[in-house]
């Protein structure tokens, strides 16, 4: 009994020491490419890519463990930018280019449960317990995190309509 405890403790200590030494002397400086990719990404840490945030996703991209099409909110534009930066070719036709949209809370159905405001990565939902919640349009990134948490399905996504300020001419089509 005592033998077992002693040997395991020693083993633990030795291995811990080894790890500490390795962490100090074999440390790899953070890849600057990771930071660059991260700055391209939406930065809402929404987790739709399956990684816990934009930084881990950028790391996975650099390591080649994730496709450049991983980010649903970034859409086709981001996939293109990532592909250019990483020097890979990618077929973007398959990437759904979701039109930019924002969450809207149906006030008739909101019960004020505060669940959605806890998951919002940008604190774009305001509200309090048993008060109707509302979305701050400018802060919402359309990441859809709040959709699943709502017990009454009162959050819906609305496409952002072009305004006089955001509208611009389409590219003139080549005459056949």
């Amino acid at each position: 009994m005592l033998n077992a405890i002693a040997s395991l403790t020693t083993l633990g200590l030795l291995l811990g020491l080894l790890l500490a030494v390795a962490a100090r002397f074999l440390r790899v400086a953070a890849d600057p490419l990771v930071g660059e990719l991260e700055s391209l990404m939406p930065g809402s840490q929404c987790g739709q890519c399956g990684f816990p945030g934009c930084a881990p996703a950028a790391e996975a991209l650099v390591a080649g463990e994730a496709p450049v099409t991983l980010c649903p909110p970034g859409g086709r534009a981001l996939a293109g930018q990532l592909a250019t930066r990483l020097g890979v070719t990618v077929d973007l036709s398959g990437v759904a280019d979701k039109p930019p949209s924002i969450a809207v809370i149906d006030e008739q159905r909101c019960i004020g449960c505060t669940r959605c405001l806890k998951v919002c990565p940008t604190d774009a939902i305001v509200g309090a317990s048993k008060q109707i919640h509302a979305v701050i349009r400018d802060a919402c990134t359309g990441c859809e995190q709040c959709l699943d948490t709502c017990p009454t399905d009162c959050v819906v996504m609305h496409e952002i309509q072009p305004t006089l300020q955001s509208w611009h001419w389409p590219l003139p089509v080549l005459a056949a």
């Binding site: 990565p121 940008t122 006089l164 001419w169």
Partner: protein, 491 residues
């Protein structure tokens, strides 16, 4: 005075014969007026009236918001019939917040104070009054005039240039203003020169308007530091940067403004509006509009209350001779296509053109033969063919590297292109797409800030909770200890 040459430019047919000798005609009040709250560059105005309220001519309908903005006034006495999102006079046909007025026909003016001698006002006071009158660049740029009059507080301004070039084909509204109301225009110019505190004022009129120039010379006689000059007839002579270069020889550096050279440019119609505002206390509520184009029954120069719809204007001019192929607000070179006739005249509408199929000549696009015609025509010294190639391929940065942001969208390149390539249209698209991309990047930056703030907030809350728990635990232990001590003392 020595004039300087600008590079490039084209000579489109003037087509001003239809309206240049027609006096300005006052258009009767229509049944409804539609006043968008955004008739200027900058922040939209905020409505200051309620539906059902009665307003008088010159009364404030919407006040300006922010530093670059302009208020909107009631063009006549009326009842506010509605405040709704209605189509804007814009190629997209998208809606804009619009105050709808039902005129009562009395045309009663609101009481207002007029200054006995506006020329005795201080520069700051003139600028403030111009801003309160909602005056914007009436040549079509619609930049709030007061902001430009306040420039001397930020940078030295030595010259005021008054733009009477009117280089766009068809348009004659500025020419008629100068010929019929030369004295008023000069009075307005004097006020602006005083507001700016400039050493000299140059009024530039294209050589194809000798009558207007003669009138202005006569009106300006006896005013010191005023020069009325004829400039060569060449499109785009009326472009601010090119007019300044013609007159002073100073070329505006890339991405800068003429104000950086110490020169401010205002349009003659703006000068007229300044005169109306300061001598008659009348804010910007009407303007002269040229109605022309081969498809109009009776071309005319009309003095129109703002908010009158294009359809009312065209009906007043006898409707169409034939179905127009294109309806334009402004001139044919830089004007905006109108989606339909149910849009209002706004502060920047200098003309309404109904063009026939022959005048628009929808031509088949052919491949670029790299002839360089567009390069020769470009007044900014850019390479339109290279910019277009990049723009069309979606390489917006490439287009920007070739000077997309220095293009003034004059359209001389597309006009001259023998292959009929829609060059300037490609630039419109590329610039819009570039702006959209910048908005997305800005939003991403903001999102990152927000999510960092949220992380910080969560960390703060956790720390707070931990501290509270620790405090509670400490309190509990202290109480326990005290209780134990008490028990010991008791036993």
């Amino acid at each position: 005075m020595k004039l300087f040459r600008i590079r490039g430019g084209v000579h489109p047919a003037g087509r001003k014969e239809a309206t240049r000798d027609l006096p300005i005609e006052t258009m009767p009040l229509p049944g409804r007026l539609y006043l968008p709250v955004q008739q200027h560059i900058g922040a939209p105005a905020a409505p200051a009236v309620k539906v059902g309220e009665r307003v008088l001519r010159g009364q404030l309908l919407a006040h300006s918001q922010g530093a670059v903005s302009a208020p909107i006034h009631a063009p006549t006495s009326a009842t506010v019939a509605d405040i709704a999102d209605l189509p804007a006079p814009h190629p997209s046909g998208l809606a804009v917040r619009t105050v709808v007025l039902a005129p009562d026909g009395l045309d009663e003016a609101v009481d207002r104070e007029t200054v006995a001698d506006p020329l005795s006002l201080s520069p700051g006071e003139i600028a403030t009054l111009v801003g309160a009158a909602g005056i914007v660049g009436m040549g079509g740029a619609t930049f709030p005039a007061a902001v430009k009059l306040n420039l001397p507080r930020r940078q030295p301004i030595h010259t005021l240039v008054i733009n009477g070039a009117e280089c766009e084909p068809f348009l004659t509204c500025d020419e008629r203003l100068m010929r019929e109301r030369g004295d008023a225009v000069i009075a307005g110019i004097r006020l602006m020169a005083r507001a700016l505190g400039v050493q000299r004022t140059l009024v530039a009129i294209e050589d194809n308007k000798p009558e207007a120039r003669a009138m202005m010379v006569a009106a300006a006689a006896g005013v010191d530091d005023f020069r009325v000059l004829g400039v060569p007839t060449r499109y785009p002579m009326g472009s601010e940067k090119h007019l300044v270069q013609t007159l002073t020889g100073l070329e505006t550096p890339a991405r800068e403004l003429t104000a950086d050279l110490g020169v401010v440019v205002h349009n003659v119609a703006t000068a007229h509006a300044v005169y109306r505002a300061l001598y008659h206390g009348e804010p910007c509520i009407s303007r002269v509009v040229t109605v022309s184009g081969g498809a109009t029954q009776r071309p005319a120069n009309l003095e129109v209350r703002l908010g009158t719809r294009v359809t009312d204007l065209l009906n007043h001019c006898g409707g169409f001779r034939e179905t127009p192929a294109r309806l334009l607000a402004g001139g044919p070179m830089m004007g905006q296509m109108l989606p339909h006739q149910r849009v209002p005249i706004v502060k920047g509408s200098s003309g309404i053109l109904a063009l026939t199929g022959a005048e628009t000549a929808g031509r088949r696009e052919m491949p670029c033969i790299r002839c360089g015609s567009c390069v020769e025509a470009c007044p900014c010294g850019l390479l339109p063919l290279a910019m277009a190639a990049h723009g069309r391929a979606g390489d917006l940065e490439g287009a920007a590297r070739h000077g997309l942001m220095d293009c003034v969208s004059c359209g001389a390149c597309a006009y001259t292109c023998p292959s009929h390539i829609p060059l300037v249209q490609i630039f419109h698209h590329a610039r819009g797409a570039l702006a959209a991309r910048q908005r997305v990047a800005h939003k991403a930056e903001e999102t990152r800030h927000l999510s960092q703030r949220r992380e910080a907030r969560l960390a703060r809350e956790q720390a707070h909770k931990a501290a509270e728990a620790a405090a509670r635990k400490a309190a509990r232990e202290a109480a326990n200890k005290a209780r134990a001590a008490a028990r010991e003392a008791a036993s």
